[in-house]
């Protein structure tokens, strides 16, 4: 005697969505961000026992409390945005450039070197042009090396670019030891502190005005390049399918190398902006993990550089807030990395609900469309 076991649907089923309307997709993302804010608030509350409402007040205060703080927030968002803009073409091509950290550092080191050596020899505008050009070239070189190996021998670019980071970090350590000032401090100190040679001049009466203009111009330029140029189109074809690209007569090797040259160059330029326009010094922390955070910025924005503006501001806003709370309570700045992690986990998870639908047992597939 056989018993036929009754077949039961699983409690939850997952179905791929055909398409999702734009407002709905953004509602899901917004919900994810709000949820992540609740969890971050809970974390801060658990550590500090600060009243949850006060937590958000303090975050806002840390980011925009004074005009100086607002400008620091803007300044840091611009650097993060600049790196994200640099990474966008590479990632759109599905080239995993984990090496932004190194590309930033190498651009920063060369900028600092020129600033130290030729600060008094050239007028500042000429010096700025030279530094920008050389940092572009160095970042470009750092990006092209792994790209050439990827293009010709399919060498794993994720690990290659990652290792290039550490080569750049050790080179930076070498230069810091070489240039240290005062001797024995193991830091370079502020370069040209008295004279300000090679520093960004104030624009519209703002110290960071030039940073904003430069980065926004790059952002707009990259948007047009990716969306409306032939090269941008080639990048997206190569990213979607290399075989299709070859069939269509696109030279994949050339596109790979060219795109990484652009990507590395902009990251190198971010190093230049950070050194000449923000910190006026160099250390192994000049990139400070932003090369990695920017990957996530670019990825979450789906390589749309205009959306990246929003995401960079959101991340920097929360980081500044976290730092503010941490210093109030005598805790350390790493709280901001925890918060960044929490937000990113939530946004990453939310992509699932944009691409798939979860159906409860008993419901029809057509429901909820």
């Amino acid at each position: 005697m056989t018993q036929v076991s009754q077949h039961k649907d699983p409690l939850l089923r997952i179905v791929k969505r055909d398409a999702i309307s734009r407002p709905k997709a953004y509602t899901i993302r917004l919900l994810a961000v709000l949820l992540s804010l609740v969890v971050s608030g809970a974390f801060i509350f658990a550590v500090t026992h600060l009243d949850p409402i006060r937590v958000y007040e303090a975050i806002f205060d840390g980011a925009f409390g004074t005009s100086r703080r607002s400008w620091v927030t803007i300044r840091d968002a611009m650097i993060l945005l600049c790196i994200g803009v640099g990474l966008a073409p590479a990632f759109k091509m599905k080239f995993w450039n984990i090496g932004a950290e190194g590309q930033i550092l190498i651009g920063g080191v060369i900028t600092a070197g020129i600033m130290r050596a030729y600060g008094s020899a050239l007028p500042t505008p000429a010096l700025l042009v030279v530094m920008a050009a050389v940092s572009l070239l160095c970042g470009c070189l750092w990006g092209v090396i792994p790209a050439v190996f990827k293009a010709y021998w399919n060498t794993n670019e994720t690990l290659f670019t990652l290792m290039m980071n550490y080569v750049a970090i050790q080179l930076t350590s070498y230069c810091v030891a070489l240039w240290e000032n005062p001797v024995g401090s193991n830091t370079v100190g502020v370069i040209n502190q008295m004279t300000g040679y090679g520093w960004f001049p104030a624009l519209f009466g703002q110290n960071y005005g030039l940073n904003v203009v430069l980065v926004l111009a790059l952002t707009a330029g990259m948007y047009i390049y990716l969306k409306h140029s032939k090269q941008g189109y080639e990048i997206s074809v190569v990213g979607d399918s290399q075989n299709t690209a070859r069939y269509a007569g696109i030279n994949v090797k050339k596109v790979t190398i060219r795109t990484m040259a652009i990507s590395g160059a902009i990251c190198g330029l971010a190093g230049f902006i950070e050194v000449a326009g923000v910190s006026h010094t160099i250390s192994t922390d000049t990139a400070g993990g932003r090369g990695f955070t920017a990957i996530i910025v670019a990825w979450l924005a789906h390589f749309n550089t205009l959306v990246m503006i929003l995401i960079s501001f959101l991340l920097v806003f929360l980081q500044k807030g976290a730092v503010q709370i941490a210093s109030q309570f005598n805790l350390n700045d790493y709280a901001s990395n925890i918060i960044t992690g929490i937000i990113l986990f939530f946004i990453l998870g939310s992509e699932f609900f944009i691409n798939y639908r979860v159906i409860l047992r008993g419901r029809k597939e057509a429901d909820g469309k």
Partner: protein
Amino acid sequence: MSDLVVRLLQSSVCFGTVIMYGAIGEILTERAGNLNLGVPGIMYLGGISGLAASFFYESSTADPNGLVCLVISLLAAFLASALGGLLYSFLTITLRANQNVTGLTLTIFGGGIANFFGGSLTSLAGGVGQISVAATSAVYRTTIPGLSGLGIVGKLFFNYGFMVYLAIVLAIVMHWFLNRTRRGLDLRAVGEDPATADAAGINVARNKYLATCIGAGISGLGGLYYTMDYIKGTWANDGTIESLGWLAVALVIFATWRSINAIWGSYLFGFLFWVYLIIPGLARKDIELFKMLPYLVTIAVLVITSLRKKREDQPPASLGLAYFREER
């Protein structure tokens, strides 16, 4: 001179052990098809939770028991790292998020947690000064009595804490598991071709979850070894664990996804990192250049393996890809 060479070899072994744990765990994870770039974050989690657990235990009793110290810190480190792995698994396996981005986020998050609590645990607990767990660290640094006194042989082979030997045993067991057991072969099938494995009745999601969580737990032990033995039961916010974690990821490639190769590979990396010890007359800045060596060697290995294209040296075929049964 011979003293220096002995010191160099000892440092290489200690350095190598940290990244060996990271690499063995990651090999298990990658063999199931998940490229977890969160290894540095997971090693951070392992390091800080082991440290925190024994810190609370040591400060709660006047006379801490060595065995309890050991068990508590080992368990805490393994579980916290496995939890990190679980978070990664949930996002990448169930929610099918991109593996690289999720891994990088885990690295940022783990580093944040570890450096935050490492720097402020004592002040949160109402104390002052740097966190320190002398009693637990002493247990981890106990060498084999008798054997470690055997002159140069004793110094080179028997003068380490137990975790150095545990790493080697784990590497061998992992090799046996992946190549000689049914479960290990199933797991590799999932990493090579999940659709085929699924059709053969292997539970893809369960294999991936288990491999990633257990792998993360093992990787986390590298962080624990680093805090307990390498820097003697303290904490330093200097980002060393992160750079070691990336080296562990590189070591996986260097070892061509075989845990046996990770044993000598890790010691070689350690040797390259510390080789400046025996080169006389180096200024501090030159040392920085020498520390570049392990990374340059990894690049060279990457290039050489990609030039040779040997079939058995390639990564698992579906590495980095999410699996969705209904997608063709």
